[in-house]
Amino acid sequence: MLRIFRFYVEGFRSMTVGKTLWAIILIKLFIMFAILKVFFFPDFLGPLGSPSDKEEYVAGELIDRAAEAEE
């Protein structure tokens, strides 16, 4: 395990272009998970709670949307 750990540490240390890339990856992941996911892309059905509530909601949506199409 220690050898594998050292393998990764030495690999990261010896990176040249990679350091900039890692900075970009980390910034990108931060924006994606800490900003976009939290503030802009919450799980729409998440607040409904239990699976049965979600089933009920989606069933209602699917049935009502067909009625909308007839209006």
Binding site: F7, Y8, G11, I25, F44, E55, A59, A69
Partner: protein
Amino acid sequence: MIENIDISLIGWSRAQFALTAIYHWLFVPLTLGLGVVQAVMETIYYKTGDEFWKKTAQFWMKLFGINFAIGVATGLILEFEFGANWSNYSWFVGDIFGAPLAVEGIVAFFMEATFIAVMFFGWGKVSRGFHLASTWLTIVGATISAFWILVANAWMQHPVGMAFNPDTVRNEMVSFWEVALSPVAVNKFFHAVLSGWIVGAAFVVGVASWFLLRKREAKFALASIKIGAAFGLLACLLSAWTGDGSAHQVAQRQPMKLAAMEGLYEGRKGAGLVGIGVLASGKQYNDGSDPFIFKVEIPKMLSFFAERNLNAYVPGITNLLEGGYTQRDGTPALSAQEKISRGKLAIQALARYRTAESDSLRQQARAALDENFRYFGYGYIRHPADLIPPVGLTFYAFRVMVLLGGFLLLLFAATCYLSYRGRFAAKRWLQWVCLASIFLAIIAGQAGWVVAEVGRQPWAIQDILPTSAAISKLPASSVRLTFFIFLTLFTVLLIAELKIMLSAIKKGPEIG
């Protein structure tokens, strides 16, 4: 009182998804294609022990790494969008969509992530054989990863291996293998991966040509061009083959998409394939006017591609909407209006099933639902004309893909011939063409996806769920806002990638 879905919400949600997918697909094909080229080069190093090939492989590996790092996780944004913008769809597809994505995450991604570390950090620290194996396993992992994503996409184009459960309002997988090995999935996988190989080959040949144009690293550039062009030629030939398979699949499963790809309104026997053409604007499916201003057609070829028979009947858009023509199985085709009626029966049966107060009523409703479920999505369609995808975009995107594919095949053939004959270095005009062809290969791949995805509108899942029913009831303004956030974020990331990539290219392979 039902709050109607804002039509612009569908448009913005689709635009946002398309933007994310297009951006993601800038990186994926280069990963798939460049990965194979660098692995071939490392294999030559392993066989010969020649340091030149090690340096050559390392140079392309560095560019592979830059592309991989910028592109990694951009596909996850699509999953955010499924949960937020397409929640009805996400619930409705259930484990069918989740299973391939889970396999992708557990097996392929971890395989890719494990071996990529050895590939980049392992030079001189592990044996040459182990390093080579890691390089190949990285690209095999990336390709398997693509397979599972394409399985999920193929299921949306041709839903199989599932049963709808009206209690959970979800589709449940009844046959994993039917989903994973559906003919649409298998063909889509090969066609999409091969398009990635073409992008990778064009990238190698183009960048290497740039070195020749700058009169730098001639040995490295010519060696890379030989491998890149041969690989590109092979990929183009195989891609033409899988493209033929793809057209046949579309004819069998998505005839409306095929009709839109060809601008074919009135079906006929011995239908010709439009080589080039200009569509007339304002064409209505039932106005009887000529859909083309001009066209050049290859006689009977569409019938052959669609049915493997030069004289076979191929239905057009009008026929598909009006029905009545004889299908392959000898039965008369339903009209769109009849399908819409059957779809409404299915949805009404779902409503009755969920409110039934006795088992017998529930069983009756279930039987009606099962009988009509294959038309479920038609119950959301207001007018038959809403079943027509954007014909212009589908038609032109298809021609862009095919013509660029044909051009790249000729380019790789010529480059291959001249480079193996030792005459490529003197052809500066061809080197410029090769450089420009990097972008043409990317455009061809994107155009292919436009055909696949725009051509299947209005469906999120073919025949079962249209986008209007798949979408979450969100304010259109919030989706519009995130569209522009993504546009900004993606542009910044793309500029960052291009800067780092160009800097690495300019530095060169540093071969003595």
